[in-house]
Symmetry: C2
């Protein structure tokens, strides 16, 4: 059932008491917006965030038992991917009201869904959320920023359904693009988009690409990508990998794509050397070896052929190319210069 | 000496007779703009471009000898990277006037510079150009689009220097950002920007990434990149690789960066498995083997540990990781599930 904004607006909007577990950057970011929307926010976390909470008008509880005894309507886990399981395992859920709504805001979704279904009492409602933005991109308006949600388990009573709609309504009212999607579909799409983006961004980031005086438009996109991912922690990246079962496959696809691009370049090189220049079909390493020897004897000026040979020698042969053996033969037989 | 726009403007601008060799997309694109600036354009090419030339007001010569006998002030090679050498080798340069200015517009620069210096008569002036735009990005205004130039060899006479300035002036008048840069520096910068951009673009292009309903800003940059490079031919990409001696090194750097990102992910995995879960230092394959066996016996519910193990099993071990041996031992000893 898609999120029905009008039906919700027609009802009296009950203000929620929202408990946030994990009060780091992201938890505080959400809390601030909830409070602006006149909801009550209480928080608990491993660290001491008393001051940060006070400043924005939230109540902070060092002790999770105290936090739970406040009986929030909604508990949102705003923990990191890596710490979520341990946090839930030690969390005194039995002190919460029996019909509490529990939500998460992780960048992976099947993992918290399974975790909630396994570890939370059957009476609890479960809502999985992924705000596809954060303190940077959502600093100002949330207009058009996507919120992915999956109503994993919501009791039949009207009050329970209203409570879910109330919580989602905060995001809808802020202008978010509301995307209802199963946790499984989310992880499939996120692995081929978000995880690949982070991987390429980190990869290029480690190359320390510089702003050149001759940037093309494509290169500008590349630099943008690096900027967009460089602020994110390795822990987040690792979480996207470790806790999304589709990530491994996408990483392999990326590696394969790279090999294919390289193979295209080198296959073309080998074909050129064989067919156009040495006039041999190169069907055996011995034939190619002879061709290279012949080439070494006959070339007197540095030209196209020698550049080809240099290129092959300096780069070696890539794994998986169908020319692997021929290439290796060529490498060891090329005249030294 | 940087391009001096004001000095040029102060002089009487002589209209040039510009000969274009290679009248494909790019040659026609330049010719059209030259004619708009009231220069005379003649053209020759392997194919028959009589109609295209006529349409824009250029004169087309099927026979390069006829073309040369027209004595153009400037000859611009607008051939592809791959065909340039063969074209110049068979070109009747001896029919041109002895003080002709020859230029190229290739995306690599050391290659045509060397080629011109080797193959052209000493009397010829040589100017290497790289308009960092084309028929798509330069369809409308050329304002702020970069033109890289290197005055490789220009005779001392004032008329020769004026002629170079006149040609460059066309680009300056169209609003180009004029970038004077040696061919060597151009190729260094282009390998780490343009070539890397094309490589990543082609790599991602072959993955057939889809527009998801949950695009992040970073992913949008990625898709932009693919769009920006997908219209370019494999021949251009191959040319950027083959004819830029810095490309091989950049390709290796990219591959290394990818390995490092993977290594970070997998090293973390192995460390976690060893230290946090099995309580062994993993300093020998035997120790790790025992740990895996122990793990296989003691785990009854699918949890964090099993997910870790699945992840390692399904992905295998990457080359170059310091954990290669330990990882392989683990893989073969992991309990099957």
């Amino acid at each position: 059932m898609p999120f029905d904004n009008e039906a919700r607006a027609a009802k009296r909007l009950r203000k929620l008491k929202i408990g946030i577990v994990g009060f780091g950057n992201f938890g505080q970011f959400l809390a601030r917006r909830f409070i602006q929307n006149e909801h009550t926010v209480i928080a608990t976390s491993r660290g001491d965030y008393e001051d940060a909470a006070k400043k924005m008008g939230a109540r902070y509880y060092r002790d999770p038992d105290d936090f739970c005894e406040q009986h929030p309507d909604v508990v949102i886990f705003a923990t990191s991917i890596l710490s979520t399981e341990a946090t839930i395992n030690s969390f005194p859920v039995q002190r919460l009201r029996r019909n509490t709504l529990v939500a998460d805001v992780l960048s992976v979704k099947q993992f918290p869904k399974q975790l909630f279904l396994q570890r939370l009492p059957d009476d609890f409602d479960i809502l999985c959320l992924h705000p596809m933005f954060g303190p940077d991109s959502g600093k100002g308006t949330w207009k058009a920023l996507p919120l992915v949600y999956d109503k994993v388990r919501v009791g039949d009573e009207q009050s329970r359904r209203d409570r879910v709609d109330n919580l989602l309504g905060i995001f809808a009212d802020e202008g978010c693009r509301m995307v209802e999607m199963s946790c499984e579909e989310h992880d499939r799409q996120a692995a081929s988009s978000q995880f690949i983006t982070h991987t390429v961004g980190r990869m290029l980031g480690s190359m320390e690409l510089e702003d050149t005086t001759i940037n093309t438009k494509g290169y500008e996109s590349l630099l943008n990508l690096v900027n967009n991912t460089s602020n994110d922690s390795f822990d987040l990246y690792y979480g996207l990998f470790m806790y999304n079962k589709n990530a491994t496959q996408e990483l392999n696809r990326l590696e394969l794509a790279f090999s294919q691009v390289k193979a295209q370049l080198f296959d073309r090189l080998h074909t050129l050397i064989r067919d156009d220049i040495f006039d041999t079909d190169g069907s055996s390493p011995e034939q190619l070896k002879k061709a290279w020897e012949k080439a070494g004897e006959s070339m007197n000026e540095r030209g196209y052929k020698e550049r080809l040979i240099d290129q092959v020698n300096s780069t070696g042969v890539i794994g998986g190319s169908r020319d692997e053996h021929a290439g290796k033969g060529a490498e060891s037989e090329a005249p030294s210069r």
